[in-house]
């Protein structure tokens, strides 16, 4: 008991303890101990990868909630201040209660996640720490700021009722800290997926910043922050839904009905721009690395997006269903909405079925015969992006119309231009729908690139235009509108509250799925193209297994959230501590159960029974159904490609060399992370046709001593956006051997030029691991390792001699030597 008392008395001290524990974690000594000896450890039963998967996902889900809710809490509070309606202030406070309840759990999960990473993936963590160490300290400082802001914001709510400015200041601070706290680890994660080349001469801060500021960092940030709002809104809605179901009085029901409505509204509000954010992210991924885009959208994972479509479709239908019930129960003019609701339902479900229809259908042999192939002649057209984007836009518009109808229900517009505004609204929405469908159909008749870059963007703009025009117009026309009836709160049927809960469940499933998609896009790499996953888990699991894990994550998340909300809600001590810690509030609850106080409460009026069990059963049915769907799509494991050692006996012609060189160019050499050939404008010079312009020696020198040469031929095409520079290819981390360099040179030469590297030369230079006896015969005076290690000490002449080519007469080398000596 004394522990609990001390926590209650000194919450700040305990918070500092927690922080100190956090500070101690990334200390270099931990990495030094484990980094060099072991690369991976495993845990029996669950497996290290699955454990990390679950811990990271649940940590991120909690984090999303804690960071997403403050964004709309402060908006709700401001609305409360401007309208003077105390209801809003109470609602904002209640939302904040939920954040505070989850805050410590988020941190605890973060610590567990970090420990698990350190234990199971020591090599990865030492590499990451080597890059991001300064950022870790910033992260901890931010965490301190976040803790302080949430402390002040929450605990001074009542005290600062008359000093709302100060209170809002801490609310803003909370949001700003939260945003940066979200962005920073996003940098770590997006670096893993889209790394930039880090030069060894970068200072620690510069290196961390270069790594964080990678091509997909901002798209991921935006995607995440919108996602956090959606998650926060729907989870608050679900909380209100459960509270409504268990409410004892009509007053409580009214309050939670309104809270659930607000949560759902916020969730939908965030959901509308979500497809655009996702679309931007995918474009950036393609831009960064086409191969990664193809992995995501093309191979096994293409089925993942069918599963995602199921989730998002349920979300759209679920939130609209809640809106419709709101119209049916809260308003007085419900019957006249029967037909519009039916139309909206048909449009939504029709769009949803188009979205779900795969391009190549799952069919038996006889069915495929009857269809004349795996593509259905009619449904085949639904299977491609043009159709999918069109129906997503239609779903967004429909949801928006639904919202507008809800907004205008039971109101009579009194302004003079009301009729004109109505006609305008109707015409604009109709026009937008026609334009969206027309653009979608037109998309089949133009090249893909035109569709992606022009038509899809036009569709999105049409939707945004409608949203941005109709919303203020409706707000203006309703400002002076006459209210025929007040909304009736607290009489919603139970099934509507289940819809709220199911929405929250599906948002969490979607987030788990998207988190998995982003991890899976790296395939068998920890850091894409840089650090390979050589553990036994370096493969892509089947989608059934993945779906099952999404379900596991969702269940754990909701069980934890349930425990946190339940305990902190039950013990309504108006103290800071009880909500601030996860375990103490559980203890308190248990202690409370057997105390006298508890029994007195039990004698009072009782609400509905078994609410939690019933909700859990319904949620369980939905989760089971989703897991089942996950096992209905093709179950394929994505294995990493086989490792190929350079086999000299197989290289007979220069064509063979070119082919090997090409493989190295796109894999081990990491060249394609920056350079592209022909298609695309990479972050570095495009190597199309360079074989005609560059000599063999020059290519060799750019690979082994890039600083001396890199600006020589490509001064107009330097990488601008990212301060990453060409690394030394013959040194770690890439570390190609001389033989491999020769094959890469052969490949580069084959782009528009004549391959002058002869296959015989390969046996004369050292290979990767151990060289052949012939190679030692040719150069007995040098150990192969020395040749690579001591390369920087050699002059270009010596290197040219090693290659058996004459140094004299080469323009590039002479120029470059001069540059080097000038420096």
């Amino acid at each position: 008991m004394s522990l609990i008392k001390s926590i209650k008395k000194q919450p700040l001290m305990w918070a500092v303890f927690l922080l100190m524990a956090l500070f101690a974690l990334p200390s270099p000594s931990v990495f030094a101990e484990t980094g060099s000896s072991v690369s991976y450890r495993d845990i029996g039963g669950i497996g290290s990868r699955n454990l990390i998967w679950i811990l990271s996902q649940i940590h991120i889900l909690f984090g999303a909630f804690v960071l997403g809710v403050p964004i709309f809490v402060i908006i709700v509070e401001v609305i409360g201040i401007t309208t003077g309606d105390k209801r809003y202030d109470r609602l904002a406070k209640e939302f904040t209660d939920l954040i505070v309840a989850c805050f410590a759990t988020t941190a605890t999960l973060g610590i567990l996640f970090l420990f698990a990473l350190l234990v199971f993936y020591p090599e990865l963590m030492s590499v990451m720490a080597g890059i991001f160490k300064p950022a870790y300290y910033v992260y901890l400082a931010l965490f301190l700021g976040e803790t302080a802001s949430i402390y002040f914001y929450w605990s001074r709510w009542e005290k600062w009722q008359n000093r709302k400015g100060l209170h809002l200041f801490w609310g803003m601070a909370l949001n700003i800290f939260g945003f940066v706290i979200m962005c920073l680890p996003s940098g770590f994660l997006s670096f893993q997926a889209s790394p930039v080349v880090l030069n060894p001469d970068l200072g620690p801060w510069e290196r961390a910043w270069t790594a964080i500021n990678n091509p997909t960092w901002w798209p991921v940030n935006i995607h995440r922050i919108v996602g956090n709002i959606v998650l926060g809104g729907f989870v608050c809605g679900a909380y209100a839904g459960v509270a409504y179901l268990g409410a004892k009085t009509q007053e409580e029901r009214e309050h939670y009905d309104w809270m659930g409505y607000t949560g759902n509204f916020i969730g939908v509000f965030g959901l509308l721009p979500m497809p655009f954010a996702g679309y931007w992210l995918m474009r950036e991924v393609y831009e960064y690395n086409q191969q990664m885009g193809i992995t995501l959208m093309g191979g096994i994972l293409s089925w993942l997006f069918i599963l995602q479509a199921v989730l998002i479709g349920v979300l759209f239908v679920g939130s609209n269903y809640y809106f419709w019930q709101g119209i049916a129960y809260r308003t007085h003019s419900a019957p006249k909405y029967k037909t519009p609701i039916l139309i909206m339902l048909v449009v939504l479900v029709g769009s949803f079925s188009v979205w779900l229809t795969p391009h190549s259908l799952v069919a038996s042999v006889s069915e495929a015969r009857a269809m004349g192939g795996s593509h259905h002649p009619l449904l085949g057209v639904f299977g491609v992006m043009s159709a999918k984007l069109t129906v997503v836009n239609l779903m967004i518009i429909t949801t928006f119309i639904c919202f507008i109808l809800y907004w205008r229900a039971d109101k009579v517009i009194t302004v003079k231009w009301g009729k004109a505004a109505n006609i305008f609204t109707f015409v604009l929405i109709t026009a937008a729908v026609i334009v969206i469908i027309w653009l979608g159909v037109y998309g089949y008749f133009v090249p893909s690139v035109y569709r992606v870059n022009v038509l899809s963007v036009a569709q999105v703009l049409a939707v945004i235009f409608v949203l941005a025009t109709i919303t203020p117009l409706t707000a203006l026309s309703l400002k002076s509108a006459k209210l025929t009836h007040e909304m009736k709160w607290g009489i919603m049927p139970k099934r509507s509250q289940y819809a709220l809960v199911i929405n929250a469940v599906f948002v969490v499933l979607t987030m788990s799925l998207m988190g998995y998609a982003r991890s899976a896009s790296r395939v068998h790499w920890h850091i894409y193209g840089v650090l390979e996953d050589t553990s036994s888990y370096g493969y892509t699991p089947t989608l059934g297994v993945a779906s099952f894990l999404f379900v596991v994550n969702t269940v754990i998340f909701f069980v934890l959230v349930g425990i946190v909300f339940w305990t902190s809600h039950t013990i309504r001590h108006n103290r800071f501590s009880t909500r601030y810690f996860f375990l103490p509030s559980v203890f308190m609850y248990l202690v409370d159960r057997f105390s006298e106080h508890r029994k007195e409460v039990a004698k009072g009026e009782t609400g509905p029974r078994f609410v939690i069990l019933k909700v859990a059963a319904v949620v369980g049915v939905f989760l089971f159904a989703y897991s089942y769907v996950g096992y209905q799509v093709p179950q394929k494991v994505g294995l990493p490609p086989e490792k190929k050692e350079l086999d000299l006996t197989k290289i007979k012609t220069s064509d063979d060399m070119v082919q090997i060189g090409q493989e190295i160019f796109y894999s081990k050499g990491q060249c394609a992370l920056c350079h592209s050939i022909g298609a695309g404008h990479g972050r570095c010079p495009n190597l199309a046709g360079v074989g005609a312009r560059l000599t063999r020696e020059f290519i060799y020198e750019t690979l082994t001593e890039p600083e001396a040469y890199i600006k020589l031929d490509f001064h107009t095409a330097m990488p601008v956006e990212y301060s990453a520079q060409m690394p030394v290819i013959s040194k770690p981390p890439i570390g190609l051997s001389e033989q491999e360099l020769l094959t890469v040179i052969a490949f580069v030469q084959s782009n528009g030029g004549k391959v002058t590297v002869r296959p015989e030369e390969l046996s004369q230079v050292p290979g990767n691991s151990e060289s052949t006896p012939e190679a030692l015969d040719v150069m007995p005076q040098l150990e192969p390792a020395e040749l690579i290690e001591d390369e920087s000490d050699e002059t270009p002449e010596e290197r040219a001699m090693i290659q058996g080519e004459s140094f004299e007469g080469d323009r590039h080398i002479r120029m470059a030597t001069k540059r080097v000596s000038d420096r």
């Binding site: 191979g299 096994i300 079925s353 799952v362 069915e367 299977g383 690139v449 035109y450 022009v454 799509v633």
Partner: protein, 248 residues
């Protein structure tokens, strides 16, 4: 007489089923079971959703069902018998489903396959050596046409619509290039890679891939394969997928 809501809803679901099952095949190919089941589940769910939105619909729809299943004092013999019939039908139906699923079946199992297997990283680097050569474009296409009609036509057909002589004998039908949703959605390098590997040389993730397409890299030269790909695009009029607008 006004139709009860239960009957209306059932008529709606059943009518939709008839449309998909019988109506649609009148003017296009029949739907495979997987898609039919998916659409029917959606129709069923949305019908149930709709009747649960408004209070009057809800009581008109669900109460009679509950009343029927639970039984009532005033039930006549017909209602009683039909209730018993329903309760007998449910296990019978389940039994029938089980029987169908374990019944020996001579159809090969569903090919649950990944349609566009992700090519290895090096595939993105395939560049058409004749791509920029506008002057000789027609010549290359003609050479590609020769390659096509000597090698590919037997399966992919005269009109590139996947209806060659052998097409009916193949499971995993030959691709229909005339379809706007096939090669126009793919990059030239991907099409080239697929020709190269055929069905046999595809990576592990694409299995079980029963496609009989030969591994053309063992039969045709790289030049011939590129020209054949160029012919595919030229004949059908589709443009390969590219990433920049200025590439047009």
């Amino acid at each position: 007489m006004k139709m009860p809501l239960v009957a209306k809803a059932s008529a709606c679901v059943f009518g939709f089923f008839l449309f998909l099952k019988l109506g649609l095949p009148l003017f296009t190919s029949p739907l495979p079971y997987s898609v039919l089941a998916m659409y029917m589940i959606l129709v069923l769910i949305s019908t149930l959703l709709y009747v649960s939105i408004f209070e009057d619909d809800y009581s008109n729809f669900y109460l009679p069902i509950v009343k029927f299943l639970r039984g009532d004092e005033g039930d006549n013999a017909v209602r009683k018998m039909s209730r018993i019939a329903v309760f007998v039908m449910i296990p019978l139906f389940m039994g029938f489903r089980t029987y169908k699923s374990v019944q020996p079946n001579f159809e090969p199992p569903f090919p649950q396959r990944v349609i566009h297997p992700a090519p290895p990283g090096s595939a993105a680097g395939f560049v058409n050596p004749y791509g920029g050569d506008e002057a000789n474009h027609e010549k290359y296409v003609q050479e590609g046409r020769k390659v096509y009609y000597e090698n590919c036509v037997f399966c992919h057909g005269d009109k590139l619509d996947g209806k060659g002589f052998f097409a009916n004998a193949l499971n995993v039908k030959p691709a229909n290039f005339a379809d706007p949703t096939t090669i126009s959605m793919l990059q030239e390098s991907f099409v080239f890679w697929r020709v190269k590997t055929g069905g046999i040389g595809l990576p592990e993730e694409a299995t079980p891939w029963d496609s009989a397409m030969p591994r053309w890299e063992l039969i045709l030269s790289e030049e011939e394969r590129w020209k054949a790909v160029m012919f595919l695009y030229d004949y059908t009029g589709w443009k390969p997928r590219t990433w920049e607008l200025d590439a047009e």
